[in-house]
Amino acid sequence: MQYVVLIYQGSTPLPGSDEWGALADEEQKQIYADYGALNQTPGVSPGPPLGLPEDATTVRVEGGKTLTTDGPFVGMKEAVGGFFVLEADDLDAAIEVAARVPAARLGGAIEIRPSEAYWQK
């Protein structure tokens, strides 16, 4: 079973921010180590790391016109912070992996979506 796992940062401290600077050294190291371990977990195919949501550009097409706006489609807090693809036996196995994503305990949330091959139907 293939899942796409979306990481929402929420209020998770992001590297470079004051909140991140306020974390103890060991804690910062632990977070990097946890993400590293996650990417080594069997079944996980990590997506490339995402830059900050404030650097995002949102594009819509209305009446044939391309409309471009600054920032993510949703608010900064609701923006996607990262994603990976996960091969797992079932939803419970996926939940156990999702619970190990550091953002889940630091003020963010993880969304598990089954992937679906619509075009084969």
């Binding site: 079973m1 036996d89 079932d90 939803l91 419970d92 196995a93 939940i95 156990e96 598990i112 089954p114 679906e116």
Partner: protein, 393 residues
């Protein structure tokens, strides 16, 4: 066989047959349809030709054969399930070849990735065998809404691969809590007047004690439900709510009280002291002729530490009021931030009334009435207000 007895066999066996079929087929819809066909055949044949010696094996074999027939007819489905049917079709299979998979089923139905309403509906449908229409009526929801809820839940189970298995130890406690919460919710719905749901919840609770005999909370929940249920008949008189102190104790179901206490004793023997066991202990004390209110207050303190629920604190205040007087109870009630909770105001009204602070009592009862839409409770509050209008103050 009498119709009632047949109904009972159907009720007892439905969940087991459906669970086993889901385990075998891996598909809720197909399992349910096959079970339905088998039960329909039994309903026609058994009264005429007699009940088979092993009704369960008969139902399982028939349902399984129906399902495999259907899969064979549908080639695409056969490819999907990769099934081959062999063996003598007329020979009822030995029941030992059908493991009891109701536990797997209930954990799947109560999976927290489903909305709570869907968990409840799915549990009542697949395990309890209630029809969609029955569930819809019990929860005051239009039938198509309930049908849609069930369809969506089953689709999500398939799409998100919610497993059909008993959870691993890491997830065990959270998942068992979810199962107990669903059963309790069904019971509460039944306790507020829908009798058939209270009976269904007790039935589910009993089945769960058979499946998890060593878990004290499972037994605590059953004990609590039995003890509350023993007073169900007396809770309403002429469509009006009757408070515990004003109930006719001789009309309680004393057999059910004894049964509840037996379950509670088993839970205590298993060293259980979780939220459900504590609530059963409180319900058991309530059933005593001379109720020990200070012990009840202590149990509510313990329960409050486990749940940090202000509603538990409100119940503690009621017990304190009984043990130490209304002033002591009122002090706790006034410290609670439950302004939208009708029982807070009806409790305040009662305590103020006992203290002779009639105008304040009236205001509190009025606020409770504003927040209450239930008929029996409203009638109770109306009567209290009428009585207060006649009092001086």
């Amino acid at each position: 066989m009498a119709e009632v007895a047949l109904d009972r066999v159907f009720h007892e066996e439905w969940g087991r047959v459906v669970a086993s079929l889901i385990g075998f087929l891996g598909d809720f819809d197909l399992a349910e349809e096959a079970a339905q066909e088998a039960f329909a055949i039994a309903a026609v044949r058994w009264p005429r030709h007699g009940v088979p010696t092993n009704p369960r094996a008969w139902l399982m074999t028939t349902a399984r054969n129906r399902a495999t027939d259907r899969i064979r007819r549908d080639r695409a489905m056969a490819a999907k399930f990769g099934l081959l049917v062999t063996g003598d079709r007329e020979e009822p299979m030995d029941t030992t070849t059908f493991p009891d998979e109701r536990l797997e089923l209930i954990f799947t139905c109560c999976h927290p990735s489903l909305a709570i309403e869907a968990q409840v509906a799915l549990t009542l449908r697949t395990l309890g065998g209630l029809t969609t229409d029955e569930i819809a009526r019990a929860f005051l929801v239009p039938e198509p809404t309930m049908a849609q809820r069930l369809v969506r839940a089953k689709r999500k189970i398939k799409a998100a691969a919610i497993p059909f298995r008993v959870p691993t130890s890491a997830l065990w406690h959270d998942r068992l809590d979810a199962v107990l919460a669903v059963i309790y919710l069904v019971f509460n719905q039944g306790y507020s007047g829908r009798d058939e749901l209270a009976a269904e919840a007790i039935w589910l609770g009993t089945a769960l004690t058979e499946l998890l005999p060593e878990d004290p909370e499972v037994r605590g929940l059953l004990a609590m439900m039995l003890l509350h249920d023993s007073r169900r008949e007396e809770r309403f008189r002429g469509g009006e709510l009757v408070l515990l102190g004003e109930q006719d104790r001789s009309r309680w179901d004393h057999e059910e009280i004894a049964e509840g206490r037996k379950e509670l004793a088993r839970a205590s023997a298993l060293r259980g002291r979780g939220p459900y066991v504590l609530q059963a202990m409180i319900a058991s004390l309530h059933a005593d002729a001379s109720c020990d209110w200070s012990q009840i207050a202590e149990l509510y303190s313990e329960l409050g530490r486990l749940t940090s629920s202000p509603v538990v604190e409100l119940n503690r205040a009621i017990a304190i009021a009984e043990a130490e007087g209304p002033q002591a109870g009122l002090r706790i009630v006034d410290g609670l931030g439950l302004d939208d909770f009708r029982y807070l105001h009806s409790t305040r009204g009662e305590l103020l009334r006992r203290l002779g602070r009639i105008p304040e009592a009236r205001d509190a009862y009025r606020r409770a009435r504003e927040l209450t839409d239930d008929g029996a409770e409203r009638r109770f509050l109306e009567r209290r207000l009428t009585e207060l209008a006649a009092s001086p103050g």
